[in-house]
Symmetry: C2
Subunit: 603 residues, 2 copies
Amino acid sequence: MAAEEITIGNYIVRRLEEQNIRSIFGVPGSYLANFLDNVESSSIKWVGECNELIAAYAADGYARYRGGLGVLATTVGVGELSAINGVAGSFAEELPILHIVGQQPSIDQEEGLNVIHTLGDGKYDTFAKSTTPYICSQFLLSKKEIGLGVVDQSIDKVIVDCISKSRPAYIALPADLVDTKIVTTRLHEPLKKEEIPNNKDAESTAITHIYQRFTEAFAGWQDNNVLVIADVSISRHHCKKEVADFLAATDLPVYGTPLGKTVVDETSPRYGGVYIGDLSDAEVKKKVESARLVVLIGPLTTDFNSGKFSYKIKDENAIKIHYDHTEVGFASYARVGMKELLPKLGERLKDFKNRASKLTVPKFELKPVTDSDKQITHDWLWWRLGAWFEKNDLIITEAGSVSYGVLDLPLPSGSSLLAQKLWASIGWSMGATHGAMLARREIEGAQAPKTILFIGDGSFQMTVQEISGFMRSGINPIIFVITNGGYTIERLQHNVEGEYHNIVTWSYGDLLKVLASTTNPIETKTYKVSKETELGKLLDVQKIRNNNCLQLVEIDVGRDDAPPALRRALGIPDPDNSSADHGKQGVFLPRRDFKAPLGIIGW
Amino acid sequence: MAAEEITIGNYIVRRLEEQNIRSIFGVPGSYLANFLDNVESSSIKWVGECNELIAAYAADGYARYRGGLGVLATTVGVGELSAINGVAGSFAEELPILHIVGQQPSIDQEEGLNVIHTLGDGKYDTFAKSTTPYICSQFLLSKKEIGLGVVDQSIDKVIVDCISKSRPAYIALPADLVDTKIVTTRLHEPLKKEEIPNNKDAESTAITHIYQRFTEAFAGWQDNNVLVIADVSISRHHCKKEVADFLAATDLPVYGTPLGKTVVDETSPRYGGVYIGDLSDAEVKKKVESARLVVLIGPLTTDFNSGKFSYKIKDENAIKIHYDHTEVGFASYARVGMKELLPKLGERLKDFKNRASKLTVPKFELKPVTDSDKQITHDWLWWRLGAWFEKNDLIITEAGSVSYGVLDLPLPSGSSLLAQKLWASIGWSMGATHGAMLARREIEGAQAPKTILFIGDGSFQMTVQEISGFMRSGINPIIFVITNGGYTIERLQHNVEGEYHNIVTWSYGDLLKVLASTTNPIETKTYKVSKETELGKLLDVQKIRNNNCLQLVEIDVGRDDAPPALRRALGIPDPDNSSADHGKQGVFLPRRDFKAPLGIIGW
């Protein structure tokens, strides 16, 4: 009996369906059309975006929310290079994005023809080559691969690499080869993430070592024997549940980090706030830096995350539990990763639970604020918003000032915070909101709790057309656009009066009417506020907290105002708005008695 | 006496002023601010754009119009990668764009810190490396270079490479090194384009050879002894004047090409129309393909330019005059370039002028049309617009359908057509219009004749925020947005009913209000037409042909309508609108009994 056959395009689509992909983001193009025919006839929805960079951001948000694969499809050259900044961001922040590129037909490629979307040099591999720093795996379909009968294996390998390494991967499909038939044999076996199991001997040695360190730390009482710092790699490697169980088993005090916001429940009485080195709250700083033992789970040392490398935790007092190895003081245990280690470690450390539960934790609470008639400032804004957030909200913050706004707030139980803070490409959050909300709808249904996007005006202008994408997909984030006519974070860092920091202020609210479909308009609401009472009323009285229509709130905060956490980061002491002298002293902050290791993200 | 000193940033600015740069396009960023301080204190205007891709397109348009350097400045990583598709387009189409990238401080780089806008791997050279296929020269500033005292030379080399090779080049400036002082000595000598002079012996041999071929061709009379095809490399290498003089000296019949539109005066009685291989007008095709001798000046064989490689000119009947070499039949003369050759060749070939002037040329004229009450179709639209164009208009066409619209029209004397047809990145024309119009204003003053932009709705949505850029710079193109709810050229090529071709139709005209500055609004006019009489009235009665305010005309052409030249290219015979079956037969057109040489663009 001859083996069953399937087109290459459909083979890929089947593999994506298997990964529960329900949406693919991209922009069509003549070389991509054959593949898109396969998508159109599948269970997967094609989400056409206004441009490719937005599509890449959307695929990132989709993967980020669902904790799994996201798919981006573009045409060759012009399309893929437009998207490459988004893909690079997904690489930096460890997201598995499969980028499918529709290429010129192989017959053109073989003859080295000078066709559109090439550099005019008859070469067809330039783009695939220049994309390699931003992907972990690549497959360029060709007649040769078809002849060798290895197309199925090659596709499978790229998808497995993508989901296992949690980095972008790349498949190029010459338009004339997409409909070539291959056998379905391999489809009987679903693709799975490759996990490297812990080395059991190393793991049990590490547990014994950690137990011994806990014994020493708890020998003799002080209020600050041991604490945990829960950081971003926990969520990147999908270990939030393991960490929650570990904390429940041990009752240890836990602190967060800027990148690790919402990784653990910030409303827990055992949660003490955010540690950011020298930029920490004084009480948090004292607690962490005087501890006998600090268990860092999933740490990632970036400038933003570490208070510009100002951590004061001695290596000999640290236990670092990474996704693939564990360090106890100066001893490193390879192949002892957090996912398998944490349940066993929690079980073993129960002996210390009684003592741990007596360790005190600073209160991490919202500062109550009242609404006055004054212009809104960041000092008021974030506390006010914090009180308005609800359980299970999805909060998305753009890079720039707003990403600092939420740092000081305890976020509600079950809430998620999405932010791109290492790559920090402004404009990202518009696409990411689209992708994340589609993923959320696929997982939780249309009635999922509200999604809130915070974005500055400069960032909003980068990718504003994504408003149209929201409408097209029928998703309804509540968009807060913080306006002050420029790139605030840049102004505050260097030459606050530089004209080059300025942008033009648009009629942001009106965009929702203009970017809507003329034939299929949807309901929208827009608000513009500049006084505390105006926003207060909106939040309380008008109850905008629903997902029934697309809403945009324009908040005018006045020039050069910034969230407290950003002021701390930039060394701006005064809480008033006299900013005239900021930044004159230069960009480069005092920093670093802690040296970042190389290759830190690959831990 | 100690040598005079200047900061590195100011050294670059001085070199750019020397190249008559009056505008630099980009988006600021923390690492770019030190350099922008230098720009702000110079005679050069900083043109801040909404995003980096738009900025790259603007620099492209600026360089394209002025026939010289364009400058783009972005921050590292996020900024430069957002721009890279625009830079690649400038590379493909041979434009000298200097891309200045503001990098992380060298002190961060030396320590391999994990800071924002990196991949988190402590590496800082990744982006500069991956950009190399799209640039001709690169300089990465470092302390080492400063120590060696070669910074001035290195900067000069990159700028000279950029203008001499007419391709993008790249300078990376770590933020903390921009204000380092270097000596001004080299500034006394202005930078000049390096030109390789013709080899005089080869040149005179080539002229003799060509004279001999002319003698043979004119021996025995036929109406079609010799003709010229004037192509795009003429404008890329700034030889329009030399070609005009050559044609005046010889009175030879001349034909254009799709990419070579407006390279020669299309209203001249010696101009016979556009040769596009099998897609040519029948009379043009017969003339060209039956000629005894065809002089191709600046030919560039791309799919678009050659009617999908369907040229029928035998090599033995061809003389090809390139920018750096010349081919006479099968003989190739290295270092015999058009700029120096043409004046001498024109002088030498005057002997044939009398006979050449008797060769007849098809009439290339506008087809007169009248305005009926019917919906506007492409068949009517372009002829109608052709009659409305005026001397010295600047016409810019986006890629996609509209780029085919102008092919059949004789464009007015002195007009220029800008289009990006090899790289063909949709959305390009918005930024390019901004850049080209600023260059035009710098060269010709505010009262330059009108600039007209044609763009399809799908392309417009890619980079729509550039409307705001137009207003900020106070430039007033007349923008024609051709709407039909999708990517028409894609629809017509493959699966016309594919949902993925569709976009949402916006209220395009209203954008001019919404994207305007709320504090500094400017005058705008918008129109929406769908009937011939409506547009006709607008063109004639309302006289929109002025630059006093920003104008947008939305033209609804109905789904799947396409310009005649595009229908010919796609093999769609019927002039009516029954498009239901187009594209079913597949993407790949019948083509090629002409094989494109490799490296064709480097001729």
